[in-house]
């Protein structure tokens, strides 16, 4: 256990686990899988020290269900996995969304589909994070790019999960999970640690309606055992009971969507690097953004006006800021470790038809800064003729 101010050399996976504990996570159910196993191992070691509970479940389906059960009973909870396990968790993620149960699902991405490349980096699950479970539903997904940011961002993930009563997908990648970096353990802002409602918050005879909504937010969750209530994955009303009426379905689905959509600006975060005067913008995220930052530095030495836009909140996508940047720049390069999942998202926003190129790699390697510079050089030639 570390305290604020300690200077540490730490692996990304471990930072994820320790940041979660600092955020108040007290239940972890998981199943080993490369490259996320170290998160489970750290939880097994550290959670009992703070009175938290760890269990290695029989598979990822069970892991996902166990954390939802634990969360409803009062514990902030998390699981961690990689591609194959993330696929298995999808039905339960939908249940967490429908029952508005706060919990955090970490996916340390590796090469897919299927068993793919277990020990190599990928960013192939960006769209799965959004649409993996069936049915329309909102989702929040965050993705850090350094070990230190992993520690601080997972705390935010728990805050968002509690505040919006929603599952939060915490994306990482193999390189970030296994990389070691040094950083100072930060002081945690207590406003990010949200307590659960307790039974004492209820007036006498007052009945707790777990799904009552007020101005686009759902009532805070009260721990099971303090008040009796029903949850179901069926379409339900504010009491939690299935109603089977089509107007209720309409109301519920729109409400679920609205509670994230209306708070998009509060949720979305991003990093900008040298964008003020940028003519060409690189859009990159996670570990891939580290090489992009280096590429920007190298390009600036050569006098090229390049900037970096790094979404930290992947879903909802930081549209508003990117639309502004698209107005400013002449061209955009999306550099990602998949076949163009965020590229599609940027394309949708590119109303002015700025030159837009995709630089993608799916061979389990990072894109080196030099390869990004080559792509930018080609784009500058293209721009001349554009």
């Amino acid at each position: 256990m570390y305290k604020a101010g300690d200077y540490v050399l730490m692996q990304g996976d471990k930072a994820c686990a320790l940041g979660a504990i600092a955020a108040g996570c007290r239940f972890f159910g998981g199943y080993p899988i490369t490259p996320a196993t170290e998160i489970a191992e750290t939880m097994a070691e550290e959670l009992p020290k703070v009175g938290g509970k760890f269990i290695q479940m029989e598979d990822e389906i069970a892991s996902a269900c166990s954390i939802i059960g634990a969360s409803l009973s009062g514990a902030k909870s998390m699981t961690a996995t990689s591609g194959p396990g993330f696929s298995l968790m999808q039905e339960a993620i939908g249940y967490a969304s429908m029952t508005e149960t706060p919990c955090v699902f970490v996916n340390v991405m590796r090469g897919g589909p299927s068993t793919g490349m277990p020990t190599r980096i990928s960013q192939g699950d960006i769209m799965q994070a959004k649409w993996g479970t069936h049915g329309d539903h909102p989702i929040i997904a965050l993705y850090p790019s350094t070990v230190k940011e992993t520690y601080t961002l997972i705390i935010k993930a728990f805050f968002l999960a509690e505040h919006f009563r929603t599952p939060v997908i915490f994306l990482m990648d193999e390189t970030l999970g296994h990389m070691r970096e040094s950083f100072e353990i930060p002081e945690i802002d207590s406003k990010f640690i949200l307590p659960r409602l307790s039974g004492e918050d209820l007036e006498d005879e007052e009945i707790y309606h777990p799904f009552e909504s007020f101005n686009d937010t759902t009532t805070p969750l009260m721990s099971m055992g303090k008040s009796k209530f029903h949850v179901s994955g069926l379409v339900h009303d504010e009491t939690g009971f299935p109603m089977g009426s089509s107007s209720m379905a309409e109301k519920l689905l729109r409400q679920l969507d609205k509670k994230i959509r209306m708070h998009r600006d509060e949720i979305t975060t991003y990093e900008e690097y040298m964008t003020e005067d940028a003519e060409i913008l690189i859009v990159a995220y996670g570990t891939a953004a580290r090489a992009a930052k280096r590429a920007v530095k190298l390009a600036r030495v050569d006098g090229m006006k390049i900037g970096l836009f790094r979404p930290i909140t992947i879903w909802p996508f930081p549209n508003a800021r990117l639309v502004k940047l698209l107005q400013q720049v002449d061209a955009v390069l999306v550099a990602e470790l998949n076949l163009g999942q965020i590229f599609q998202e940027v394309s949708r926003l590119n109303k002015q038809k700025k030159l837009l190129r995709l630089l993608s790699r799916v061979d389990g390697s990072l894109i080196p800064p030099e390869q990004m510079l080559e792509a930018i050089t080609e784009m500058r030639i293209e721009l001349d003729e554009y």
């Binding site: 009992p48 029989e58 059960g69 055992g225």
Partner: protein, 299 residues
Amino acid sequence: MSVEKYLKHMRIDRLPHVWCPGCGNGTILKATVGAIDELELDPSKIAVVSGIGCSSRATGYLNYNTMHTLHGRAIAFATGIKLSRPDMTVIVMTGDGDAGAIGGNHFIHAARRNMDISVICFNNNIYGMTGGQYSPTTPEHSYATTSPYGNIEEPFDLSRLAITSGATYVARTTTYHFVALQNYIKKAITNKGFSLVETITQCPTYYGRYNKIGTAPEMINYFKDNGMTLAKALSTMKEMDPDVNYDGFNVNALLEKAVEKLPEKLIIGEFVNKSKRGYVEKYEEILDKAKEKLASSKA
């Protein structure tokens, strides 16, 4: 017995229930609340978790903390609740398909961990909710919408599955044997470990109809006429085979033998009732060890 005894455990405003006329699910629901009433448990400290199926709709009528979850996964959700909140009584209500097919893995592993949850399985030998397909407990040669030529699969004996996986309380009965049922549920809840009460129940709408067993009363009469306790089965088998040393058989072997020797019988009774520490109790020691380790690293 006064009806209030039962009604105070129910969410009356959620009635009428969704079950067909003659369905046995209500009987099991009644036995469950009867058992809880006699144990005088604090309703706010009870969590009842179900999967998906006709039987799993039971949670909606109970006035406790209730969770209607995903098909097959009730035990996994319940594991999270029990481990995070050992002070709560955690009960799972599940169907034979829910517990034995899609949820089979969670079932055996929770038994292996001796996780302190009480599983009440509504075994109607068929998938009721989806309209009568065969389940992992449908007997061979039986008819279902997906076994129109007769079932060619061998069924699971869910009680034996629980016994051999490590459950510390296992009993089986039928909806005819209501008093025993309520008593078994009481004992299951009291057991500090993984408990199964497998209840054979009638589905006149699908199983009874497709297999020409008849209406609900006829099915219940069938349970009455063919239900045989394991003790009775043992003495019968001893008479049949005086040369076999049945006293040397463990309960699992006896149940297996009974199916072979008395194929027309439904073997019921209390099969396992033993005391053994489970995951939740053992984890308390982990908490102590971890705190010691933390203290010594600080010293």
